[in-house]
Amino acid sequence: MLLQEAAGAAHPLAGTIAEWIWLVPALPFIGFIVNGLLSLVPATLMGPADPSAAGPDHGHDAGAHDGHAHDEHPHVARHPYHRVVSIVGPAVLALAFGLTLAVFGLLAGAHAEEPFVRTLFPWLVAGDLHINAALQVDQLSIVMTMVVTGVGFLIHVFSVGYMQDDPGYPRYFAFLNLFVFFMLVLVLGASYPVMFVGWEGVGLCSYLLIGYWYLDKANADAGKKAFVMNRIGDFGFLVAMFLLFANLGTLDFVSVSGRAAELGEGGAVITAIGLFFFLACTGKSAQIPLYTWLPDAMAGPTPVSALIHAATMVTAGVYLVARSAVIFSLTPVASLTVALVGAVTALFAATIGLKQWDIKKVLAYSTVSQLGYMFVGVGVGAYAAGVFHLVTHAFFKALLFLGSGSVIFAMHRAFHHTGSQADAQDMRNMGGLRAFMPWTFALMWIATLAIAGIPPLSGFFSKDEILASVYARTSHSTLAEASWLGIPGSALLWLIYLMGLTAALLTAVYMTRMMLYTFHGPNRSGEAERKHLAEAPWVMTIPLAVLGVLSATGGFINLPAFLGAPAQKLHHFLEPVTGAASLRITHGEEAHLPLGTEMVLIGLAVAIAVTGIVYAIARLKPAALVPKAQAPEATGIERVLEHKYYVDELYDRTIVKPVVGVSRRVLWRGMDTGLIDGLLVNGSGYLMRGLGWVGARLQSGQVGTYAWVLVIGVLAVLGAFSIS
């Protein structure tokens, strides 16, 4: 603690605008308060119905909204404070982003080796436990803060258009602002408990926003599922924190990084800490086995999917591993577990993405898959590469989600005009949208090529860097020399590399498939609907365009080393935070591949991406698709993929049903009704009633009887005295 304060006093950021870093989370919180108060004004008090103001109202979730008659939701004019909310919601983010940029500028110029910790007040003080509410500015947290506030701002602007006619407009922005607040607490917190506050808070906001259209039970259920799944992961976070505190007596990032080595390299305690932290990551970042909530989370409004379930919250797990880089670098077993689970998830989710029909479900599985890539990166100790992919993914996945939101917005509006009950999110009902929405079409293709890994778009660089890092560590690294459940680390890394390549191929295929079915071929929405298809308003397309530029150029923040001087900027920027941990894994020297090898790897990656795209174009015929209503049932392996390997059903059988059964029979009937209600509550009642019955029999009301008892008692006492 003292050491940390001493470091803070001499820190180049001390006394600068970085002292005001607390404003970054505080601003969205103010937005939450303002919008939250405005949301108390109900929309039902508003003026007469205005049928022309028909935007996307309820029921964007897949399948579940087929039963929604559009007249179930009476048209309402906009919320009375619509304009105030439209300004406050995005403005707080813009201010926070501006402040973050300023701090970033200072930090980039300062070459600060130590993090700058801004202590606000003592938060938890009990015995040896001393936790400050403190924010930490370092290279890693500032990169995350820029992504959260920057991409967050764009998504807020998009939401202004997307949610404009929703009766709960201020409530939506209140939740969105609250989410950003908690996310900033998560990434800026200077200790694990502060981070945990943000970690729990974003989970809460995720729940609130998934179930935003709570009138539909499926949406509310999806929210609950996400919440419960995350709770399982949070248990891991807590246990890891307990272990850290029990063994090191501190929970500050600075102290933990400094002292983690005391736990011994590869020791049981540090491995347990790493694995429990990773359990938390599997919940928050939707990795096997806790990934099933993320596709269901698509029940929320699409901008929410873009912000929370693609760009920011789900990357918190990656951030946690990068933040705990020192811990993970000390335990090859936990690191290999992270990488392996990431690779399996990447491949597994990519195969599911091949056969989904809901445009948002494709993107959801794509997100799970890309998160897997990030975990491969941070798992093999290439923390900068993982964070790099996190950043580029935030760009192109936010763009894809917002683009799909734009598509759904257009489809929904068209269906709304004609009163059609068709699914506005099913790709089989789309097709040929290129002609109607040229901007969205072009921008989404950029994002698709980026995620597929076509140079020089951002996804190519970040994905290539991860795969190259895995390749580089197959020999001469602590991971390769370790063994994981008896499997040699190098063999496992080869396997991870191959799975990564395969997932890259599948990514190219399913993304191209999504684009083909959505934008190419004939339009399948119907004659009447076609007339109403149009590009979304500018307030939605401008954020798309900005994200398009970022998706295209985002890779330049971390060019491969062989391209010359400005290369690996992010890598070098993050070095003070993760550099030492990375070096520990590669035995103290930078993992450099020979130029020839690197060229071959890049060629391979590009060839795979191109193969995937070409294969999809050659193989898939959008013209042969029929609308959802007439589509035949899939068979064989396609059916298995469409049903997501029946994992939800498996979990239902093996976990949910037994838990419900045990709860019902043992806990409810046995414990609650039987033991507590029956034996303890009613039992004590019966006991008292029995005692009362005995007492009542004694009280005969006959004075004579009492006199007898009295005399016998006196005689007994006297007798006792005289005997003694």
């Binding site: 009301g701 006959q702 004075v703 004579g704 006199a707």
Partner: protein
């Protein structure tokens, strides 16, 4: 002299006790209680020869209280009789649980 007085006192007290326990008529029980009180008075007086006048002073107190008790007790018995046309304790069990 004293042993005889104490013996008489004991006999009177026992008669009173047995009367209280066995009889059912409230008036009789009342009289038996008086008998017990006076038996105790007798032993007070007898023992005052050994221990000074305190016993005799106490007897005066007891008689005073007994007089008050007689007044209140008889009044209650009359009230009970007016209520139930009987002073038999068998019929008086309003406090039965």
């Amino acid at each position: 002299m004293i042993p005889e007085a104490l013996a008489l006192s004991a006999v009177l007290f026992t008669i009173g006790t047995v009367g209280v326990l066995t009889r059912r008529n409230a008036i009789v029980i009342f009289m038996c209680v008086e008998l017990m009180l006076n038996a105790v008075n007798l032993s007070f007086v007898a023992l005052s020869r050994l221990y000074g006048v305190t016993g005799q002073v106490f007897v005066v107190f007891v008689m005073t209280v007994a007089a008050a008790e007689a007044a209140v007790g008889l009044a209650i018995i009359i009230a009970i009789f007016r209520h139930g046309q009987s002073v038999n304790l068998k019929n008086i069990n309003l406090l039965k649980g």
